[in-house]
């Protein structure tokens, strides 16, 4: 169940009111920032429901704080993934552990 329980309602409002996208494009219209934040985190980590991505594509991305938060989270994740070094374990450690295991009773 997506956190945006009223996704359908939002879609309906959007469909009914064609002026909404242009309004929200430049305003902080979103009043449910805490639930959006949860969704953003799940989206960035790839565990959100498909409806959350759909909501973001259709509506969320036009909400300035939502878009900002989503991009900030993506930026941080990208930064960690690209900048943290992965070091090879010393060969001696591998050999030592293998020997310990073979010698153990």
């Amino acid at each position: 169940m997506p956190a945006h329980k009223d996704l359908e309602l939002f879609k309906l409002i959007k469909a009914m009111n064609s002026t909404l996208p242009s309004k929200i494009n430049n305003t902080d219209y979103c009043e449910r920032i805490s639930t959006c934040k949860e969704e953003h985190q799940l989206m960035v980590d790839g565990t959100a429901a498909p409806s959350a991505y759909e909501f973001y594509d259709q509506i969320g991305q036009y909400c300035k704080p939502c878009r900002q938060h989503f991009e900030d989270l993506s930026a941080l994740k990208g930064l960690v993934q690209h900048n943290i070094l992965y070091i090879d374990p010393p060969e001696s450690l591998k050999q030592h552990i293998s020997e310990l295991i073979r010698k153990s009773t």
Binding site: R67, H69, P90, L93
Partner: protein, 201 residues
């Protein structure tokens, strides 16, 4: 006599199965250990201890299941139970051990190991690594498991032995802390495009 040979054969088979399943995981485990302990010697000990524990409990592991998550869980528990306690104790020096160490061939090897540590610290001395290392260990662990090792929330929940809701909130708090330290740097590196606005924090 024949039962002795049979046991020996069983032991060889067990060892081979264990090494085949778990040795390929040493690189991620070693890096996890380095980030937990922030010390190369302690990381070596933690990896060794974790492997020996896993070997001891190998019979409780079902082959073909999530070996990586199982080993990470063992390492996390070993770190909490043994290494954190040790690090809280005041430093103890066994002078006999120290003397025999400096009289041994190991001392020479140790010099190389220190050089390696220096090299590692130089490389890790960037903004991202420093920010990650500055996080409290529980938050650091959450970021490592999620962003670097790409475990699912469910796997993290099992590794850390906490509910999924706690995994989410821990990640959320960890990222907020990282954000404070790194967001500007992220932008200079070309990640993210939108201006910072703290009004919704």
């Amino acid at each position: 006599m024949s039962s002795g040979i049979g046991k020996n054969q069983q032991k060889i088979q067990k060892d081979e199965a264990f090494l085949k399943e778990f040795m390929p995981l040493m690189k991620p485990l070693y890096n996890f250990a380095l980030k937990l302990t922030q010390d190369e010697d302690e990381a070596n000990d933690l990896v060794q201890e974790s492997y020996l524990k896993a070997y001891r409990f190998f019979s409780s592991y079902s082959e073909g299941t999530n070996a990586k998550a199982w080993m990470f869980r063992i390492m996390k528990n070993t770190f909490i139970n043994d290494f954190r306690k040790k690090s809280k104790e005041p430093g103890k020096v066994d002078y006999n051990e120290l003397e025999s160490f400096y009289n041994s061939e190991e001392a020479e090897h140790k010099v190389n190991s220190d050089l390696r540590l220096d090299l590692m610290q130089d490389k890790l001395g960037d903004e991202v690594a420093n920010a990650l290392n500055a996080l409290p260990v529980d938050f650091r662990t959450a970021i490592i498991l999620c962003d670097l090792e790409q475990f699912t929330y469910e796997e993290m929940s099992k590794i850390l032995d906490i509910p999924i809701g706690t995994v989410r909130s821990r990640l959320h708090r960890a990222r907020n802390l990282l954000k404070d330290m790194l967001l500007e740097y992220a932008r200079t590196q070309g990640f993210g495009t939108i201006q910072i606005d703290q009004s919704h924090e």
